[in-house]
């Protein structure tokens, strides 16, 4: 009995329960105050709330030195994450932040660390190497605290920022001349009738490219005012199949339901 309780406890701490919901910043109790405001509406630029507790150094650290690092943290880096970004650009009205390289994206960010109480430096040993990135153009804030070095936390925060950008920033879609971008086709189930065989296997939530597809899907749903059935028609899927895709990922489900709520539609369940 004791063991199974211990297992439960370890499961909670070891299993990345938040694995597929990186933006659920509320899982860091102290940080929940910085999470992107839930009242954000698609198409609207996210307004940043003041972030008490954070300070940003006057100096923005150069990202280059980080990216060119060689070694132990490379796997945590998403440096070749969005290398195929260009393909989708013709479908997007506005600029797509996700197509930027890490360095390019970082240039648009202001970086802060935890506000430290007291003098810091040699006085302090708290391993709070938390990092907070504020994306200036949108005001979106992403942060990471759980890694051991600031470098790794910066990489994690940047990945989270990409997720948040995908979920929160809407690009206009021209429905008249719409053809689904490849990123979107790749996350659709194989039975989609518009999905060519050249799309390869279905990309799931664990693949970093999933978020590019999510962004395109949300853009489309937003153009359809949250209607899953309309979007499903265009994507060659049944409404049920598209709903299942949406429900398969927590962050996608939440974003879709937020969109639907703003249009007075019932949430998907």
């Amino acid at each position: 009995m004791k063991i199974s309780m211990a297992i439960q406890s370890l499961r909670r701490s070891l299993l990345p329960g938040t694995a597929r919901s990186p933006p659920s910043l509320s899982s860091f109790p102290k940080l929940s105050g910085f999470a992107v405001s839930a009242s954000v509406r698609p198409r609207a630029i996210v307004a940043a709330s003041a972030a008490p507790g954070w300070r940003t150094g006057e100096r923005t650290r150069r990202w280059g030195g980080f990216c060119s690092g060689n070694s132990e943290h490379d796997k945590a880096l998403g440096s070749c994450f969005y290398s195929n970004g260009g393909a989708a650009s013709s479908n997007y009205g506005g600029c797509s932040y996700l197509e930027l390289s890490d360095e390019g994206l970082m240039k648009q960010c202001e970086m802060g660390t935890f506000k430290t109480s007291g003098p810091g430096g040699q006085h302090r040993n708290k391993r709070e190497s938390a990092v907070r990135l504020k994306h200036i153009p949108t005001g979106i804030i992403a942060q990471a605290v759980e890694d051991r070095s600031q470098h790794k936390n910066r990489a994690s925060a940047l990945l989270r920022l990409r997720t948040l950008l995908a979920l929160k920033v809407r690009n206009a879609v021209n429905l008249e001349a719409y053809s689904p971008p490849k990123e979107l086709l790749q996350i659709l189930p194989l039975k989609s009738t518009v999905r060519g065989s050249d799309c390869g296997p279905q990309i799931g939530p664990n693949n970093p490219k999933f978020m590019l597809g999510v962004q395109a899907l949300l853009d489309l749903l937003s153009a359809f005012e949250g209607s899953v059935s309309e979007a499903a028609k265009l994507l060659g899927l049944s409404t049920g199949a598209l709903s299942r895709l949406i429900l398969s990922d927590d962050s996608l489900r939440l974003a879709v339901n937020e969109l639907r709520a703003s249009k007075g539609l019932k949430p998907l369940k």
Partner: protein, 392 residues
Amino acid sequence: MKPTVRPSFVRAWPCIASDFSTFFLRLPPPPLAHARNIAQIRHRRIHSSLSPPPPPPLLASSPPSVPPPLFLRPPKYTTTVADLLEWHSWAKSLAASVGSSFEDSDNGPDSRLLCRELNWLMEDVLDGFDPSLMHKAVARDDPDVIVSSRADVQELYRLWKQRIEERRPFQYIVGCEHWRDLILCVREGVLIPRPETEIIVDLVGDVISKDQGLREGLWADLGTGSGAIAIGIAKILGDYGSVIATDLSPVAIQVASFNVERYSLQEKIEVREGSWLDPLKGVEGKVAGLVSNPPYIPSDDIGGLQAEVGRHEPRLALDGGAEGMDDLLHLCNGAASMLKPGSFFAFETNGEKQCKFLVDYMQNQLPGSFCNVNTASDFAGTQRFVTGFRNG
């Protein structure tokens, strides 16, 4: 083929040497002379007007045996998931019992941070931290799965007790600190590198990206401790330049040498023992860049430090004399004679007050020596660094 243990490893972690030697091969017991420089250390701060209160009895000063960093030990132990979980849940409740009491008393870690450390400890202890293995066992409710581990469970109990009850720093428990993209080995007697100090390497990166001459030059990290800054700089210098890393503490010399070798930078970084600028004899006027994170805490503040710092880290690396400026001023006064025209320097300080004082001092008391003397902030927004260039 026999695996070998590098000599620097034996010097830096004497007692593992025997541990490893039984594991890998037989080595003669390493000769060690910790005591030899004690007198020198004690008399180093001749400029201090106030003699500091006697340091607290340091577990830190020279422990009889220093086990190797956990992540470098061979995974020679095996344990069941059940035993590990039992330890983990004990450790977690011990951490939880701390609540915010450390934070309230001396701004130490709260239980949330301690729990995070506990996960990092697991990372280092479990062989490669194969989460899938743990996950599978947990998911199957199969507590008898065997996992291999770098420490035996009894040691884990002992280590976590030290963490909570003695406030022994987490980095000394695991024997390393993650700093920039490096994993640096540390142990008692060596300052644990701080995240703030990472910026010094970035400052150097900015400078060498604009000046190839500096990139190709000789750099010096004075009071290198674990070797953090020297290694960080050596890596961004790439194929160019070289670094001299100095420290007064023989323990720091051992640990820095070990870290330098672990990153295969022996050709690039020369580790020299001695006080501040003394080991730079022979390169006067030739140094392209001088950096240091010297002790800068005012002596009176040492007693009130967070227990992890004040009780366990070397006072030699923290106590900067009455105003905390003894060593900084010593460096400023000596820097000009080492630096060549157009060369760069960066020093870490206690904050705005020391920064301003130093900028003023260099401009007014050392006129003509330096130019473009400025301060730079750390990521918490505190003015932390003084930088500038040698005139010429």
